[in-house]
Amino acid sequence: MFKAEVKVMLRSAILDVQGKTVEHSLHSLGYGGVGHVRIGKHITLEIEAENLQEAERIAREISRQVLSNPVMEDFEVTVHEAEVEEAR
């Protein structure tokens, strides 16, 4: 069993209006030194696969096909082996 974490962010060329709004709010709270606030999604998956390479391939395929829209978003995938749960 493998665990995958997928980070989906709006492409840098696209204005992130949500991030901008949070940034303005932070400024009004007095955090004047905060900038470039961007908001994205963090998705976790468990994947059954033969090996790490296969799990990474599946995670990337899913990210490209479903979890992100390449017109507006970029994604990053990290996959690691899930720790074996101790027998109860």
Partner: protein, 233 residues
């Protein structure tokens, strides 16, 4: 002649589209359920507005993979007329039947009001009964209607006359002030390269009766029916 209106979980303009087609236009209309694989021999398909699958992940992202959409994609690829309204437009973009994507509105607000759009190209099956430059007063109701595409795609849409509707002021001027959501080029509706798939954010089905405050949406449905009659003749 029969027109199908697709029903996804969370569609909320399906009955409006059905009513407009069946009772205002007078054409045989049927619902197509999202889990079905059978298009029931319809001659045109409407992807209605709403919040399919709760707009989870991204607007239209889950609907795009529903069983009926596999058939809709095949139908569209073989030249069948498909009109996606609001959420339907978002689904068409997610499905790759139209280029670009619809981002969060520039001002973050959900916008629900009557706006004006200008007919930029009346040489499509969706606008044949309208005039170039005609101004339609039609409602919008969306949170993600900010049309975005890469510069080369926009250039192509423009050059090929595929920008069909643009947001404008009541006099027909395409201005930044008249742009409700930040869409590039004030884009309110586009067609695919073949011209048989239209996506638009405004709701023509909500402007089909004097009771609703406008009948400006009728021309779009009349154009589709007229084009089908010509094909049948």
């Amino acid at each position: 002649m029969k027109i199908g209106v697709v029903v996804f979980p969370g569609s909320n303009c399906d009955h409006d589209a059905y009513y407009a087609l069946k009772h205002e236009i007078g054409v045989d209309t049927t619902f197509l359920f999202h889990k079905e694989h059978d298009l029931q021999d319809v001659d045109a398909i409407v992807l209605p507005g709403g919040f399919s699958y709760g707009d989870y992940l991204r607007c239209g992202a889950i609907a795009r993979f529903s069983p009926i959409m596999r058939e809709v994609v095949k139908f569209a690829q073989s030249g069948g007329p498909v009109i996606g309204i609001c959420n339907g437009f978002q689904i068409l973009c997610e499905a790759g039947l139209l280029p670009g994507a619809l981002l969060r509105n520039r001002d973050l607000r959900f916008i629900s009001k009557h706006i004006h759009i200008r007919v930029v190209n009346n040489r499509t099956i969706f606008t044949g009964e309208l005039q170039d430059g005609e101004i339609l007063r039609i409602p919008v109701a969306h949170g993600e209607g900010n049309y975005h595409a890469d510069a080369d795609v926009l250039q192509q849409l423009h050059a090929e006359g595929r920008i069909v509707f643009q947001y404008c002021d009541p006099q027909g001027n395409v201005t930044e002030e008249a742009n409700p959501n930040g869409s590039q080029f004030n884009i309110a509706g586009i067609v695919n390269a073949k011209g048989n798939v239209l996506g638009m954010m405004p709701h023509p089905e909500r402007a089909c009766s004097p009771l609703l405050g406008s009948t400006d949406g009728l021309g779009i449905f009349r154009s589709i029916v007229r084009s089908l009659e010509i094909v049948a003749a």
